[in-house]
Symmetry: C2
Subunit: 299 residues, 2 copies
């Protein structure tokens, strides 16, 4: 990542300090092992994916005007939007360049489809956030594009980098997609968890007018007038702490949390089922554990 531009080196060093769980490269490596073994390509693929994901986070913070990320300041908080947008572009093109220089055109094909779907998914979510008319079907389409497409790419890239055939790559892609959907439902659910410091549920998604699965489920159970009332609350009173707290309670009582948990486990099971077709190995056990982690994690 070393560049001739000193400012860029400072930024990339800073980003490295706050690197996250790096769960996406893990999926690349474990899927490669399950499909025959990691290769030089697996490393290229893992780098490509992590750079792309990091670029997205840097842009997300600009987009959301977030000044914190993983306990540290965000890039835009320290260097302003201007530099953060450019740094994100740089990370993205650097990732693509690594793949191109290594003639990894299969990996590129897998990943570029995901990149397009990710921005489509984000934009769909923003569009729907204005009207709040998100059906369950639309919800699943958004999270499939926004979150699951990249994790699907990780698994497909892992398989492809191990020399797997087209059919196996496709299976792994489907497996990763199911993992990604479960991962996002988990994210949604955590927003209803108690905050360990304040003892209150966070409800951040509601404040950002994001329609999550537990909420969508509840809305489906209500009659027209009740639904209108809640949509009105989300639209115009999403900053009223008390009202948001009440809404969170209401979602819990409606069975929305249970429903989302059920769905999450269905997708988890779907991923595990696909894996069961692969021979037993240490890597497969680790991959199963990693899948379990995605739905049991606390952050």
């Amino acid at each position: 990542m070393k560049s001739k531009v000193p400012l860029l080196n400072i930024i990339t060093r800073y980003i490295l300090k706050r690197k996250g769980k790096q769960i996406r490269p893990l999926f690349v490596f474990l899927c490669a092992e399950v499909c025959g073994g990691t290769s030089e390509s697996s490393f290229t693929g893992a780098s490509l994916i992590e750079l792309l994901h990091t670029a997205t986070l840097v842009h997300d913070d600009v987009v959301d005007e977030s000044f914190h990320r993983r306990g540290l300041f965000s890039v835009n908080a320290l260097w302003k939007n201007k530099i953060a947008v450019l740094a994100g572009d740089y990370l993205l093109s650097k990732g693509l360049l690594i793949a191109i220089e290594n003639n990894e055109f299969n990996l590129l094909r897998i990943v570029s489809e995901a990149t397009r779907e990710m921005s489509e998914g984000e934009l769909m979510q923003l569009e729907k956030a204005r009207k709040l008319d998100v059906s369950e079907a639309v919800y699943f389409e958004i999270i499939r594009k926004k979150t699951a497409s990249l994790i699907a790419s990780c698994c497909a890239i892992g398989a492809s980098s191990a020399g797997a055939d087209q059919q196996m790559v496709k299976q792994m892609h489907t497996c990763g997609q199911a993992i990604g959907i479960a991962f996002q439902i988990k994210d949604d659910l955590m927003d209803f968890d108690m905050n360990s410091q304040t003892g209150k549920p966070k409800g951040l998604d509601i404040k950002e007018k994001k329609m999550t699965l537990p909420l969508i489920y509840m809305l489906g159970e209500l009659d027209y007038l009740q639904r209108r009332k809640i949509i009105h609350l989300i639209k115009y009173n999403h900053n009223d702490q008390e009202k948001v707290k009440k809404l969170v309670e209401q979602v819990k009582i409606s069975g929305g949390i249970d429903y989302a948990e059920k769905k999450m486990k269905e997708y988890q099971q779907q991923a595990i089922n696909i894996l069961s077709g692969f021979p037993e190995s240490e890597a497969k056990k680790s991959l199963e554990n990693l899948i379990r982690f995605t739905i049991e994690r606390k952050r």
Copy 2:
């Protein structure tokens, strides 16, 4: 460009309404003709380049907080930064996807190098803008990366898409780089031109603390104390209309404009000289005219 996300379709339709000179695709097509003839690849390359360039403009407007572009509102003015950053990412990935789907890996290789250089160049410029310590050598490195690398790519892509050999592709790349440098010096010079409506020079670059060639030349002619005084003015009084106007006058008197014009013409001549090695044709004449246009244009 049609997408399943309605908001994206509205944005791309809007962007199409304010399409610019589309000078970059022109370079692709004319260079292809000069090197043996346009092919299907030339169209892919031209689309890739124009999408990438448009993505950059959309991000630039976010970065510069510009609310106007080509006489219409900018994307971020109409839809906010959030959507503009995502729309830019979408355009970029869509461009790459078109190339990948068409197995145009040579074109991708040429263009991805330019993408990286473009963000490096922009970041270098921002970094230097804080200290204002831009030597002529640094200035040329910045504009080579920021502007000339993409035009160099256009010419190289044109040649490559016509089936030219490595050496010819490289020649065209060098030719495009010279054109791009002349193009940027012209941009710098236009900032010292009279505004047709107000009759005053624009001096926008000074207001944005951008060091342009005429200014850098003048600073080189001054002694230490005079130079400090002017740097102080740019740093702290760049919003003082009267002072900026005086500075513009001073640059003119110093011979900075003449010097920049001389340099611009040298680069133009360099490009024409490279072309002289290619056989005469209608396309070559058009390309020469287009090069002339880059330094004679009024906007």
